[in-house]
């Protein structure tokens, strides 16, 4: 029994398992037809979009924001790099805005990267973020363009 618990604990912390999971580069993505998005290809501009400081694209199309769940490893990296806050803290702030009905344009949370890719491929004003792996193997990759790449940090 002890050996089983030890093995379980080792598996938890070993690379490649749930807690030791690494993500590839993270790509911030927009719809292929969103020509005005090129001026937002910086971390600061993306932060403004995901903070509701910008509500429309240059062509007045409403911005539609897509998030992954707060515990998703891709979101953890996105939050650290772009939002400069932990994913949990960002989620708390959005939750507080939503529960008070003061949120103007809150992100829509999708459970899987595939769902984010599909939404961005089909909606002109959509913006989201996924891992490079997910984008490479996606059937929607031809309808999506990369806005910004968040590189993998070295160990």
């Amino acid at each position: 029994m002890k050996r089983q618990w030890l093995l379980f604990a080792l598996l938890l912390i070993a690379p490649g398992t749930a807690l030791g999971e690494k993500v590839s580069d993270i790509i911030v993505i927009v719809n292929i037809n969103n020509s005005g998005s090129v001026q937002f290809a910086t971390p600061k501009a993306i932060n403004r979009l995901f903070s509701n400081h910008l509500l429309t694209w240059p062509d007045q199309t409403p911005v539609i924001l897509y998030d992954l769940p707060p515990e998703h490893p891709v979101r953890l990296r996105f939050s650290e790099s772009i939002m400069k806050m932990s994913a949990s803290k960002v989620a708390q702030q959005w939750a507080h805005l939503k529960i008070t009905n003061q949120a103007t344009n809150p992100p829509l949370t999708m459970k899987h990267e595939h769902a984010v890719l599909r939404k961005v491929a089909r909606q002109h004003g959509a913006i989201g973020y996924v891992s490079r792996n997910a984008l490479t193997h996606s059937p929607y990759s031809s309808q999506i363009k990369t806005l910004y790449l968040i590189p993998l940090l070295p160990d």
């Binding site: 600061k44 403004r48 903070s51 509701n52 400081h53 910008l54 509500l55 429309t56 409403p62 707060p70 515990e71 400069k84 806050m85 932990s86 949990s88 803290k89 989620a91 708390q92 702030q93 939750a95 507080h96 939503k98 529960i99 008070t100 009905n101 003061q102 103007t104 344009n105 459970k111 899987h112 595939h114 769902a115 599909r118 193997h137 059937p139």
Partner: protein
Amino acid sequence: MNMAFSRPPHRILQLGLAITLLAAPAWVHAEDRVDRIERMLERMQQRVDELSRENQQLKMQMEKNSGEASAAETVQNTTAEAPSIAEESATATPMQSDNTQMDQLNLRIEQLETKQEEIATSVESDVKVGGYATVEYRATNQPNPNSNFRVRHFSLFYSKDVTPEWELFSEMEFEDAPFFESLHTDNKTAQTMQGKFLVEQMYIRYHPELDWDLITGRFLTPGGIWNVYHYYPFVPTQERPFMVRVLYPQYSDGLQLRNLFQFDSGQLESHLYVANGGGNPGKLDRNVSKAVGGRLNFAPELDINLQFGASLYRDNDNTNTVRTTSGLHMQLHNNDFGIQAEFARRHNAPLNGNSFFDVSAYAQLTYDINKWTVAGRYDWYNLDSLTPLSDRYRYTGALNYHFNHNIVAKIEYNRNRLTTPGLKSYHEVIAAITMAIGGY
């Protein structure tokens, strides 16, 4: 233990519970279906990816075989053509079969995704039910009340986007486990009343654009920060600062216009409202004048998350006292560090009597360490500028553990210092668990 727990609740509470029970299962059931379809889509997509890779490998093998076959043809006669055709047919069949299978799978994925979107749209168009709950244990060195468990909050939010432009939003609060019962000796009075049941918000919202909306009904009075942003899963303490619900009314029944202005330098949010004023029931205004107020909040474009602003509220209330509150607020988050501070001063001018001010201010620091938040707050309230020794001070230290972003355990210590003669200073420890439900 209170015998009241064994008695059935009042009909108002039964109605609220019935609405929740009717709405919640349908919403949860639809969410379950969306989850199942999403999992199926994941498995289908994985299968498509596998077949795609196999297809790629088969193509490469075919090209290799074709290359070898044409090299062989230069030294052999053309009678090899028939076997070559037979060979090509034999290798082409598995690839064609995989292509057909892949096309079918792609079509099936498309159908499932369409169904998933229809269900998701249906879920979104349902009445949204959410809320939060808090249970506390309070220990104090005051003689009254005794240290106690407290079933403090149970708030339910119902909202619905009736059309893309029109929304109904409501918040019903059941504080301290309300209990009302009549012995039916007459048809007017409740014999037993405990706790509080309050319609804290109920408004109709018109929002044709993202950057402005008009709401009418009962809404939280937009003054400062904590008067609006006070929900217990998302604030570090159970005790609220002194000024909250005192210098601005807790809620207002009236009309409010909200605007959002985007500039290169930042974002400005404005609230303007007119209302019946504090101390009035939902049915009527007990005096002829209306309360007016406004709030501005500016968030500059900086690398740190900063916002600051000012609020104003004026009312000639039911005691014929003109009360004018003005305040400043600020909030800053930088990585794991946060500061929140407010100041408000109210001028009170009774019709018969001397004018006086009451003033309050607080400053709160927070620091996040992974799932923990450490918080400290200094709070001060001067009740009456004309009366010496009318100050209250509270020094708070708090520790929060976030199980996730909407479930929090808290422990806080409050030292309350009262300068008014005859009132004793006291200490208080509060342990609490609080959670939000419903997609927050």
